[in-house]
Amino acid sequence: METILVLKNLDKKYGSIHAVNDLSFEIKKGNVYGILGPNGSGKSTTLGIILNVVNKTSGEFSWFNGTKSTHEALKKVGAIIERPNFYPYMTAKQNLKLVCKIKEVSTQNIDDKLKAVNLFHRRDSKFSTFSLGMKQRLAIASALLNDPEVLLLDEPTNGLDPQGIHEIREIIKTIAINGTTILLASHLLDEVEKVCSHVVVIRNGVKLYEGRTEEMTASNGFFDLKTEGNQDKLESLLENFEGIYSIKKEADGKFIAILNRDISAAELNAYLFQNNVVLSHLVKRKPSLEQQFLTLTNSKS
């Protein structure tokens, strides 16, 4: 698969603050990536570095296998950063024309892209008269002008109302279906879970996890189980079962058995029944991305 972007040991220090710490990952063509992290974890700084607006302290990054200089590569990239920045005195259309001139693409696309984000009827209104949602949609139209190979989004739904959030997500999904590579930075887990195929979790500038989204949520399933019979026997049976690495006893008599391999509920039930333990309660659960995220970000503090 074609590599779009490589980050190698990227480091950024603001005085004594270590915003990005030895960060490495790769973006392959056709995937949708999420960069997940709490506020202030270094997501925006990382995007700033690869977008040529923040200077790295050390490390390397290269776009499209390093065949182009960064600013040339950025002409093939569409990016939306936290706040949409346009010239307030220009209309939507004039602003997009300027972007076309900078990216050296034809201005033919402008009307289509404005229609795609539902702003065509406001094309001749000044940017300063737009609501935040409209500004954000204009930013998306602007990022799509060059039919980019990769789209970078930094907190695209930040500060929007539910209606606005929904609109932006629909637009992103449509873009993703068309096969555009997307890199989405967010602290909203459901957003990442819904949209992204791959995820990179960072905290305090350090990478905690990198992999497929479903692997992150599915890697450790757990059982919720209870018996009216012999509690100690159940505990020792669970301890001896291969594939269970920890057991926790809850206050209400429930056991939580955390798995390190994929065990079906039937398999466990059969094993316990053969050993004369009858369960009154058995549920297999998968942790949500939120639980996983909190586990990851809290464990290494």
Partner: protein, 275 residues
């Protein structure tokens, strides 16, 4: 280069404030030249500047470039705000993300400075030429096109001055404060001049000529004492006003060096900064 100019003119074209200032500037350029055509009539003494020879070639090149450079402040406002607004609107960040390099960004501004200066020079050239052809006592080709180095000096002076404005715009990021800084710097140079006069009498001018604003104002010296009518009056009261009014090559070099320093420093600042 044309791509960068095209980008910059797109930004200026749609800004009402910039348009008003630019138009005002060019109207004022015309009117400074026209002021002199006014007839003064007081106490039965007719005072008509045009007939006193202020529009004589080649003196007019000196006079018009000197007067015109006084209104460069209007264009300075445009230059400083076109730089500082990119910071306050954060459009600088957006431009870079869209694929403009930092070098291209500074160059697009500098090319615009050159175009503005060139346009002003051409404008002043034609206004002076027309006024001269109407009022000058001498209209031989050789006389008309003598002393044209004042036009070159005018161009270099504007480029240097606006580059200074560009640099202050990037350094301070706020139009009003950048203009304020320019005024502060002017006061600082005057202060230095005063101190030098006080402490070491002889070599004041030698040191002062290296400072940016002083070097720019040295390019075109005041033309009034050169005017023959003024000179003859001065002679009657026993004052000798003759001094060196020519444009010095060394002076041009100093201003060009400052221009390079300002543009390079702007680029350097931009490169160092995280946006």
């Amino acid at each position: 280069m044309f791509r960068l100019l095209n980008i910059e003119f797109h930004k200026l074209k749609h800004s009402k404030a910039s348009k008003v200032l630019i138009i005002t500037y060019f109207i004022l350029l015309t009117s400074t030249a026209l002021i002199a055509t006014i007839n003064f009539d007081f106490a039965q003494v007719q005072f008509h500047l045009a007939e006193m020879g202020v529009f004589n070639f080649p003196y007019i090149w000196h006079l018009s470039t000197y007067l015109s450079s006084a209104i460069k402040f209007f264009l300075l406002l445009v230059i400083v705000s076109m730089m500082a607004n990119e910071y306050s609107n954060k459009t600088l960040k957006q431009n870079l993300i869209d694929g403009l390099s930092k070098k291209e960004f500074v160059l697009s501004k500098f090319y615009t400075v050159i175009i503005f200066s060139l346009a002003s020079t051409i404008f002043v050239f034609f206004v002076s030429l027309i006024l001269g052809l109407i009022y000058s006592d001498f209209t031989e080709i050789a006389v008309i096109f003598s002393d044209l180095e004042y036009m070159l000096a005018f161009f270099i002076k504007l480029v240097g001055f606006f580059s200074f404005g560009l640099f202050l715009g990037i350094l301070i990021k706020r139009s009003a404060f950048a203009i304020g800084a320019m005024i502060m710097w002017f006061m600082f140079e005057s202060f230095i001049k005063g101190m030098l006069h006080w402490k070491l009498k002889g070599s004041v001018d030698f040191i002062m000529q290296f400072l940016p604003l002083e070097s720019m104002s040295n390019l075109i010296k005041e033309p009034f004492t050169r005017f023959s009518a003024v000179k003859s009056i001065a002679k009657q009261i026993g004052e000798d006003l003759s001094k060196d009014y020519t444009v010095h090559f060394f002076n041009i070099i100093i201003v060009i060096v400052w221009t390079i320093i300002f543009v390079y420093l702007s680029y350097w600042l931009l490169k160092q900064r995280d946006l």
